[in-house]
Amino acid sequence: MDWTLWLELVIKALVLIFALLGGFAYLTWYERRLLARFQSRLGPNRAGPFGLLQPIADAVKLIFKEELTPAKAYKLVFFLAPIMTLVPSVIIAAVIPWGPPFQLGDRIVTQSIADINVGVLFLMSIASIAVYGIVLAGWSSNNKYAMLGGLRSAAQMISYELTLGLAFVVAILLGNSMNLTDIVEAQRDGRWFVLVQPVGALILWIATLAEVNRHPFDMPEAEQELTAGYHTEYSGMKFALFFMAEYQKMIVVSAILATLFFGGYLGPWVDRWPLLGPVYMFLKIVILLFIMIWVRATWPRIRYDRLMAFGWKVLLPLALAVVMITAVGILLAEINPWMIWLIPIFSLIAGAFASLMIDRSLRRKAYA
């Protein structure tokens, strides 16, 4: 417990917080430009060259906006709810390894703030805590629509938490450890887990999209539905905090997906220059965010009852089947290493069967 350890932790925490907050600001710019290009228009290009000062303009506007508190709102919880939504989305980045450990003087510095041995379980815990901010924001506004929106959003999040947990189990099984650094190290030499278990990666991606209330699962909070859901009564800086929390969750969720299935900080020459690790993570996160924004520009929203039916009746059994296939495949791979390729074959068969079932059920009149 010497002071160098404290200094290292504080510096790492500050760097990570500033990087995440700066990343959030420019993610809004990235999203608006990309959405605009998908929709054959230009996007923000007036505030500074290429519109790069647009996030700053937005921040200034939101700071100066008047903040209205509803008359009979529960003031303390109304004030705390945006903070309770933002804090878990930043904390969850504490266990993600941004690069391989490197030597600085006479200490080995790991490039994650907390390299704990239950890293994946920590991700699961913080995903569970993230529900509170939303349900309390909906309740404290003293507005029936906001409360309904908040409850719906929370119900969606806790339904998809099960699938999220099972998808994490797939990554734990393949990486043979709950420690995120070990999982990344197990993906060395191009053996990314997404090649061994593509359906697992897809399930994790869909479950995290639903967890962060992101398109196409954002019916409870979209502006055109239910009068904007749980953040109806919020304005000014509090609304900015909700906005910030959503985009932070997008970044962090892309980072988790990159770590668990796409090789994390691994790439060419990352051992010789450990600081290339964050660069590779940045590239992978940008590509995954591009896919998220692409999905937003292209697909319609899923209706709420179909969303819940999808989560419980399709994704959860598929995730269970994928876990079983992965476990059996790993056991068989101890006998003969080539048996590991049974995993993608059988999970693709399971995935094709699930899509067949979805297609059949969508043609039934009950869901039309």
Partner: protein
Amino acid sequence: MSPELILFLVLSLVAIAAAIGMLISPNPVYSALFLVINFSTVAVFYLILGAPFIAMAQITIYAGAIMVLFLFVIMLLGAEKLAPGKVLPYQKPLAIGLAIVLMVESVYAVLARNPSDAEIIVPTEAANSIDAMRDLGIMLFSDYLLPFEVTSILLLVAMIGAIVLTKRAKGEQE
């Protein structure tokens, strides 16, 4: 007054304050939030005691799932103000008095022991390693296999029970 002792005292004050807050708060939502603080503090105690798996399980299940369920039911039932019914007039003071007696007596009985054989054995670095968790997993599946399987059936029964209890009877008007 080692740093660990100061940390323990501060955290236990937070836990007890949250527990008392849960007790005396008139609004059930605030009670639930105080209980979440209490559970999180106990999870931090588990981390100090070198049990990270139980700490994360406590946060995920207790603070993250059970209390969210409580919050849902409290918000849906919307029962914040209860009309006072017929209460026995001496019940509250008697209960508080007896509880204080129980608290003082149990704390005295625990703390007045011979302090030499009461030191906590500090969990070493090995307790945080992957082997401790592996041992926990192996023990769950070898010595405690029957409770494990029975718990899984219990959870299934609880799920079915919860659905059956809240199902509308056929033909009942809402």
